[in-house]
């Protein structure tokens, strides 16, 4: 019993320490934003935006397409039983833009980029590259974390819009083929019922998720200990923690929006 309590205490202590480290890291990265406007940092940031977009483009497109198709198939089936299949457009559009698009994109970027950031910085940590930067008086926050945080904050909304568009496209194909809803009827219903608020909340969520993915990845990377095992563990923790934070943040942002 005592051992169990000690283990729980240890876990809570470590979690609080990591959370504190992550929040301080985020604050210090935000404070170092003016350093982004140097030619070298801007170039690093643009390179990362390009690499990140390219790396997650295909998987986001495929997942978004099928998510839209699944939403249309399930939603259409229920609506058809009520003779309301012409409402598929609004249901899919609101779901994709407000909820599923940002959430799904965040999960994809967490798995592909968040884990990558943790592994990359973690490897640099265990191979003493971070220490080498510190000795050269180069801040690892400005040099490594800032460009990654800015790149993810910029590309997550872009990929979310792209995922929303592809998802709606997929849904329109299913609506036309399976339920006889024409493209015009589908898009009219979607556009008439989609408010600017839905678009804004989707974008706000994606920005928050982008910041979360980069911060958690960088935190886990910078806290990496040990060799290859430590790097693997950092990447795994980054994915698990970001998944949990994304779903919790998503719920509360929707709650605030709908309140």
């Amino acid at each position: 019993m005592t051992g169990w309590i000690q283990a729980l205490g240890g876990f809570l202590g470590r979690s609080a320490e990591t959370t504190g480290y992550g929040l301080v890291l985020l604050a210090r990265t935000i404070l170092s934003l003016p350093h982004l406007f140097s030619r070298r940092r801007l170039r690093d940031c643009l390179d990362l935006c390009f690499t990140y977009c390219l790396g997650s483009f295909t998987v986001t497109a495929v997942v978004a397409l099928f998510t839209g198709m699944i939403l249309a198939l399930n939603g259409g089936d229920s609506l058809a039983s009520l003779g309301q299949e012409n409402l598929i457009g609004r249901i899919v559009a609101i779901s994709m833009i407000r909820e599923m698009g940002p959430f799904m994109t965040a999960l994809i970027l967490t798995a592909s980029l968040g884990s990558g950031i943790a592994a990359e910085i973690g490897t640099m940590r265990v191979s003493e590259e971070i220490d080498a930067l510190r000795i050269m008086s180069i801040s690892p926050i400005r040099f490594l974390v800032l460009p990654r945080l800015v790149a993810l904050t910029l590309i997550t909304p872009v990929m979310t819009i792209f995922a929303g568009f592809i998802g709606i496209l997929g849904a329109s194909i299913v609506a036309a083929n399976n339920f006889g809803v024409t493209w015009i009827a589908f898009s009219n219903d979607a556009l008439e019922n989609l408010s600017t608020g839905d678009v804004y909340i989707g974008l706000i969520k994606s920005v928050v998720f982008g910041i979360t993915i980069a911060t958690v990845g960088a935190t886990q990377g910078l806290l990496t200990k040990g060799g290859a095992t430590g790097v693997g563990e950092a990447a795994r923790r980054a994915v698990v923690i970001t998944f949990l934070l994304v779903i919790i943040q998503g719920y509360y942002l929707s709650w605030v929006y709908l309140a």
Partner: protein
Amino acid sequence: MILLENLTKILGGKAILNGLDLQIATGETLVLLGRSGTGKSVTLRHIVGLMTPDSGRVEVLGKEISGHSEEELKFVRSKVGYLFQDGALLNWLTVEENVALPLKEFGKTPTSEINDRVQEVLKEVELDFHGDKFPSEISGGMRKRAGLARALISRPEIVLHDEPTSGLDPISSSIINGLVNRLKSSGITQVLVTHDMHSAFEVADRIALLHEGKIRSLGNVEEIRNSADEAVQQFLDGKIKGPLTQGAIDGVCDSEENGNEAT
């Protein structure tokens, strides 16, 4: 130049440094010897402020540095070059870009001067034909030399080497030793951590043996070679039994005698 006074550092509940006192004079090359885990690298990391002592004082170039912030350490770090065990080069930059990094990041040196200095130090470490290669495309010895070139680009007054010849073939080790001796003749203060006795005798002005978190023996090459200290002789001869392994060997023997698993 470098003063370590009553330095104590506890890591994982174990006193790695336990009242270490050491003074290194300007232009001196000191080699730190000792068994693995005796705190040699930890000592180097204190000199450059990568670690903060639990107690004691670290003074570098006349400035007390223990407990200072990264910002406050900038002055001292600008005068110190550090060669890490595997070079610690950034994998996405070429050798030239890695070497130029300390100068390029601060943007105070004109590009043409940076390029000239990069070529100069690469030539010094005999890597002038490999500047366009990535760290993954060169050997371990070349990575170490590239790391040394990066440490030298800022024209430091102090260079710290963490196991500069470990894992290298004898010829690559000799190249590194030659570089250390060239730095020595140009008056740079150096501290080397190594297990390579040949290298230690070739480059050292003084040799210090670290044991149980303190300096056990300190002297010039001849004094160390002829030392009456059993610990020094055990280390030089690589004997298993002796003062350096007293606790460990006894522990193993005791546990074996008691039928316990040695851990």
